[in-house]
Amino acid sequence: MLPSAIPTPEDFYRVLPEVLWCGFGTLIMLLQPFVKNRHFFTFLALTGALLGTGLSVISGAFAGPGFHGLIESDAFSVFFHLLVGTVAALVVLAADPYLERENLAAAEFYALLLFATAGMGVLAGAQELLTAFVGLEMSSIASYVLAGYRRDSLKSGESAMKYFLLGSFATAFFLYGIAMVYGATGTTLLNQMGAGNPQSNLLKLGLAMILIGLCFKVAAAPFQIWTPDVYEGAPTPVTALFSAGPKAGAFALMLRIFATVPAATHLWFWAFWILAVLTMFAGNLGALVQTNLKRLLAYSSIAHAGYILVAFAAVTYMTSDLNGSAGPAYAAVLFYLVSYAMVKIGAFTIVSQIGGAGEKHLSIDDYAGLGQRQPWVAATLSLFLLSLLGLPITAGFFGKLYIFKAAVESHLIWLAVIMAVNSVIGAYYYFRVIVVMYMREPSAEMAAAPLVRFPITVVLVLLFTALGTVWLGVAPNQVLNFILQPTLIGGLR
């Protein structure tokens, strides 16, 4: 007998966060014509984001496959729901003063943000490739609009266009890969693909094309060309979202694919080795010559995708080696995503405030003398930059340490060496910003300008991200133990 096509209530509990995010997004759009107060929508979006994030615990309580195996609710997906939901809530808070300053409509912005977040949630829970595709598109299509949200700005429109064209191009590759995998195995359910012949060329080609599609989304070289342009042109709170949310979703899908599909594990090892090296160099060398802080952070986020890919190479090596345990390498990826998301959102929030009306002050020179003028802001930004660099007592230190350890334990010595070299290159441009902030006198124009105000919502975001960065840097064990619990990593297979 065929299974009933009608979903059970448990199925809906398993997608509760997505239901809430989409529901609140729709509610905001319905209320938009009737309510004039923009802060009301901030409140509503924040409630929705936090409610969805909190109730992902309920979806975790109903662990198991939902909708006939299309999505999987387990500790792994709960982890990513918590991550993208928190990112969404922080971006809502950071966007409130930004939208007011730039005189942009608030309601649609929040609705799109929540839809994008729901897409990332679907991506993290997808156990079937077409579901993953729908999640990917939910997050991408909303992101295209968000990138072009400052309609009057030429740069914002250009950013949206580049993101849209290259994103759809990547999506087509991703889809063609799915079609090939379907042709080779007769299924798109990840946990049934293992039954197919792993030596089939069609399957290999399909997995390679899926990898290309996902590499576009996580900005891995040589598919990273769009990143600096899109990040620079998009409104800064949106850039903060791009650097944290969609990346986490795409990395979650990658992890799930090769935890469940054996063919991917063997095939992707060298691909990840090469991608990691290219991405680290592309990001770090590109960042050296930047004069615009927003663009510099965009290049740095390419470099960080490279560091994460080092851990991926370690994961693939460990799983192909039967004696090794891939647990620590998986944990390194998840821990890095958390620490990196926190730091990037904090840094971009500061850039968003300092940028001023019309985002005019994005150049590194505009930060000259910030150490004397606004010591707290300069100290917070320095903390984030040091964490991106990976200095001790910041989250970035342990993030890098775990990846380094995973690489060494998998005997990927060369990769570990290249990663260390890249960290040194990174030191140059992160320290350059700090030096400008503390050692250089502000230009006459900036010295005469009034101090940049930091409204309460932004202070909340900075407090949360800064404290989180220090907390993860001092006591990483709590998060690490949560990640290492057997149901989270072990539940993948």
Binding site: G148, L154, E158, F164
Partner: protein, 100 residues
């Protein structure tokens, strides 16, 4: 009856043409159309594979791809109109404010 391999080969050719057009064309609308061509090549592949494996789900996937492609087109055309209004041109080489 035409073997399904032919359809798959045709879909590969269409996809390749889409990629080439995406890389070499300069008009935004044409680039956008080349993406649609690639997506339709995917649809053809899905149907052909579905025919070969004797399972119907490949044909359902096509419906999903069409729906998502329509949503993407709605957003994409909106963005293209924005570019055309702001710059009075649809040549991608003129859209060059953001660079190194």
């Amino acid at each position: 009856m035409v073997p399904t391999t032919y359809y798959i080969a045709l879909s590969a050719v269409l996809f390749g043409l889409g990629v080439l057009a995406f890389i070499f064309k300069r008009n935004i609308i044409t680039i956008f159309m080349s993406i649609e061509l690639m997506l339709n090549a995917v649809n053809l592949a899905f149907v052909a594979f579905s025919q070969r494996t004797g399972k119907l789900d490949g044909q359902i996937f096509v419906l999903f791809v069409i729906i998502v492609a329509a949503a993407e087109a709605a957003v994409g055309l909106g963005i293209i109109i924005l570019i055309a209004r702001n710059r009075q041109s649809l040549n991608v080489e003129r859209v060059d404010l953001l660079k190194l």
